[in-house]
Amino acid sequence: MTDLTNLTELTIKEAARMLRLRAFSAAELVTAHAERIERLDHRVKAFLRFTPELWEKQAEEADRRIARGDLGPLVGIPMAVKDVLCVRGVEATAGSRILSGFKPPYTGTAVSRLFAAGAVMLGVTNCDEFAMGSSTENSGYHPTHNPWDLDRVPGGSSGGSAAAVAAGEAMIALGTDTGGSIRQPAALCGVVGMKPTYGRVSRYGLIAFASSLDQIGPFTRSVEDAAVVLEAMAGHDPLDATSSNRPNDVLHDFDAGVKGLRLGVPREYYDVEGIEPGVKAAIDKAIKSLREAGAEIVDVTLPHTDYGLAAYYIIAPAECSSNLARFDGVRYGFCQDGQNITESYERTRRKGFGTEVRRRVMLGTYALSSGYYDAYYLKAQKVRTLIKRDFDTAFEKCDAIISATSPTVAFPIGSKTQDPLSMYLCDVLTLGGNLAGLPGISVPCGMTEERLPVGLQVLAPQWREDVALRVARAYEVASGVKAEVASIPSPLGGEG
């Protein structure tokens, strides 16, 4: 048997090659991850629950496939799944108490496609309740800690997934991105996180937050790994009317480099209010390295950026107020009885939902109310159109847009919980991509002086995941910056 200690630091590509060479088995690979989780996760708290029966069965099946000579790139690869994705028989709560005990009777499309590709499910990762938040502190269960500094947040809402990959607890983690919920935690945890074009990956099985913005995407420790996972789960799904049947050629020209590509730097993003000097320095360095790799750096402008945040915080809550109406305690999850049905609804929802969810349901309900619809919801939709147009115009001048993913590095746990507005500002550089439905990726671009990761965001035109991946890949190669597994100091001294 091989020494299992560093199996948790491999990329998918490396692991797949070694599985094929029988350097270790899928069962050993999953065991290595289970052991690392056992050793570290009580401190990182990336996971909410584990699926040992599933991983044993799936790892066995993976080993059988490998024995048959199955060369699939994901066979036997350990994966974590955000708590908003439904897997048959596995409790799914969207980080909320209101869904406690709910076991979906079906598996969503993205997860089933990855299962079919041979991925092995380790468990369910923590997130902000119903994916509403940027720090994973809004989880109805517990906060997750950033593996690079346990006193800091991992970002959110997919903070558990980002932390799991950064801590070497999983090779793939699935997240969802509504306003930046994959890219921002990827940046804060120093891993790769990708949000595909709206419609690229089926949302069937994704517990909706804001249906017109939500997309499922992967966290990995390399750009190529992200592309491979995306390719396996993308493509039209007859169960999702908003999923596209465009060709799924996300790896087209993957290694072609950036020579001759024009990369736009939007001045509104470059000089965004509140951007930390450490972040800016890392981005400057990234721009320089891309220029040296042959890219042409061009100035672009996204004039409606300032309105994006406001529009987002009307549209997303409006959709959420409707999407979350089904959580009434009648058919599943938590229920608090009352004297009559109305009182039962009120008690169930007051106790079952956390503060941030209740705030957004109320915001959205208000924005859709008769007499306010035109002033809020309709106006926000118009702004959304303007923001799309901004990107269209910008993409006439460039092939992709680059910026910081987040204006800040990971912040201390508890530092923004009292101020929702400052929390909302975490998404200022990412939510435009959701409003416009664009593909976006965050890749690690070095560390600040305090050893905290910074992320570089690449946005591409709709359906051009290939361009976003190609630029991210070129940056990874040119800069030599790679996602690393964080080493987590043991409280007793030594290292995990």
């Binding site: 908003v84 994705l85 439904c86 799914a92 969207a94 869904l99 709910f102 979906p104 009777p105 079906y106 969503g108 949302r203 069937y204 099985g205 994704l206 517990i207 909706a208 804001a210 249906s211 017109s212 007859p238 169960l239 999702d240 009317a241 908003t242 409006a318 959709e319 107020s321 409707s322 979350l324 109406a325 089904r326 959580f327 009434d328 009648v330 058919r331 599943y332 009559n340 049905i341 109305t342 609804y345 309900t365 859709l368 109310s369 008769s370 619809y373 919801y377």
Partner: protein, 466 residues
């Protein structure tokens, strides 16, 4: 001064589809075990998404075309948000400001009733309360078999002016829906639900009065009765100096009255929202043309043609055109060589009441036998029944049973003489001037020789008596 009633109709119709509006579940039947036609989608489980049923869209478009509606190029689905235990998602998917079709009409007894819109939506589930209403019941049970069943909502303008007209409108709508195959439209099975809104105004006034909307009506008769009741209730309210409250009222079939259900004062704000899970539909113009071409002849046009082309009286034409199957049978039987008026009589008098439909060839054959005097009308009835049951040609049945009408005088004379010999008293009575004795003799003749041609036989009898 007198009151005039103003009625508009909102009719919900279940289009003929195999599956529900947004999932693959069977639409099921009345009486299926509770929650037996459900899946994670129509149960509103977390994470599920709707996909539009093309068959429901097609039925709605066919209905819209048959009603002469405009079909805008773009249509979309909206969420109507409200919480109730029979509504699993906390919203109903319906159509708000861009319905599938607008501005049509339905001809009822020669008058046009304007149709405002026809749109698609999904049905809700059903609650069964142990005890009283939801808020007082000790226990309530939810059956979601109906949740997500497709419904077309057909909304008329307030163009109806009496309970009769309202009922005739609903009947005409049912006929139309059945003719084009868009729905079976059985009121008793809940496939057609009519909700009239009713207001009164002074004759001559153009302003509309305050209206009430009636629900829980499950037959055409109930529709008629409920409107009459509501008219007299509103008249009483107005004449005693009161005002009508705008509200939804239920119809109680058992008590024969309407009762207040929900006042519009507490009207809910449905916070309509375009459903982000369903991209707007762009209706293909070629598809609409294809559907338009495939529409059968509509009941109104057919009724006209039955009069002008086949010379039927208007009353017969109305009855026959109201049922596509009967109208098809009529025309095919006439095409098979039978005379039109007798065919109409047989269809209205015999086929329609029995509900058993013969083939046009068989009906034509039968009508020809009766018209030619080969068999009597009574015999014809028996032959028709046997023909429908066995699927055999009436001529064959007649031949086999010896049902051929006896018209030959020499053969008849033998029978008539036998009757006279068997009834000497009656013969004597007749000859003594008691003319009614003829009836008894004819009755006996019919018993002895049912195949006897009644006209020739009675002539012969009179001659022999005289």
């Amino acid at each position: 001064m007198d009151w005039e009633v103003v009625i508009g109709m909102e009719v919900h119709v279940q289009p003929t589809t195999r599956s529900k509006m947004f999932c693959g579940c069977a639409v099921g039947r009345l009486g299926d075990p509770p929650n037996s036609n459900v899946c994670e989608i129509c149960l509103g489980m977390p994470g599920v998404l709707p996909v539009i049923n093309k068959a429901a869209v097609e039925a709605c478009l066919k209905t819209a075309l048959a009603l002469g509606c405009e079909i805008p190029r773009h249509t979309k689905f909206d969420r109507k948000n409200y919480m109730y235990p029979d509504l699993p998602k906390g919203y109903q998917v319906s159509q708000y400001d861009l319905p599938m079709s607008i501005n049509g009409f339905l001809e009822v007894d020669g008058r046009r009733v304007r149709i405002r819109r026809v749109h698609l939506e999904e049905d809700t589930g059903k609650l069964i309360h142990a005890g009283d209403k939801l808020h007082k019941a000790l226990e309530s049970f939810v059956d979601l078999n109906r949740a997500g069943v497709p419904l077309m909502e057909i909304v008329s303008e307030p163009d109806l002016r009496s309970a009769d007209e309202a009922r005739d409108y609903a009947v005409a709508l049912r006929t139309l829906l059945r003719t084009i195959g868009a729905s079976e439209a059985e009121m008793e099975k809940g496939q057609l639900r009519a909700e009239p809104n009713i207001s009164l105004r002074r004759v001559g006034s153009v302003e509309l009065g305050v209206k009430t909307e009636l629900k829980n009506i499950n037959s055409f008769r109930a529709l008629h009765r409920a409107i009459l009741y509501e008219m007299s209730r509103q008249t009483e309210v107005l004449e005693s100096g009161g005002t009508v409250v705008q509200e939804t009222r239920g119809w109680s079939e058992a008590e024969g009255r309407t009762f207040a259900q929900r006042s519009k004062e507490f009207a809910e704000d449905y916070r309509y929202l375009p459903d982000p899970d369903l991209p707007p539909l762009e209706i293909d113009a070629a598809w609409i043309e294809e559907l338009r071409r495939a529409l059968p002849e509509l009941p109104g046009a057919r009724r006209g043609r039955l009069v002008s082309q086949h010379g039927l009286p208007a009353a017969d034409a109305v009855l026959i055109a109201a049922d596509r199957e009967l109208a098809d049978l009529f025309e095919a039987s006439v095409a098979a060589g039978a005379e039109s008026k007798p065919v109409a009589n047989w269809i209205i008098g015999e086929v329609a009441p029995s509900g058993k439909i013969p083939t046009p060839e068989h009906l034509a054959d039968l009508v020809k036998l009766v018209t030619a005097g080969s068999i009597t009308r009574d015999q014809g009835r028996e032959v028709l029944m046997e023909s429908v049951e066995t699927g055999r040609l009436p001529s064959d049945i007649v031949r086999e049973h010896g049902f051929v009408q006896m018209s030959d005088e020499s053969a008849l004379q033998v029978e008539v003489e036998a009757v006279m010999a068997a009834n000497p008293r009656a013969v004597e009575d007749y000859r003594a001037g008691k003319k009614q004795a003829l009836g008894a003799l004819m009755a006996d003749l019919k018993k002895r020789a049912p195949q006897a041609n009644p006209r020739i036989a009675s002539d012969l009898l009179l001659r022999l008596l005289g």
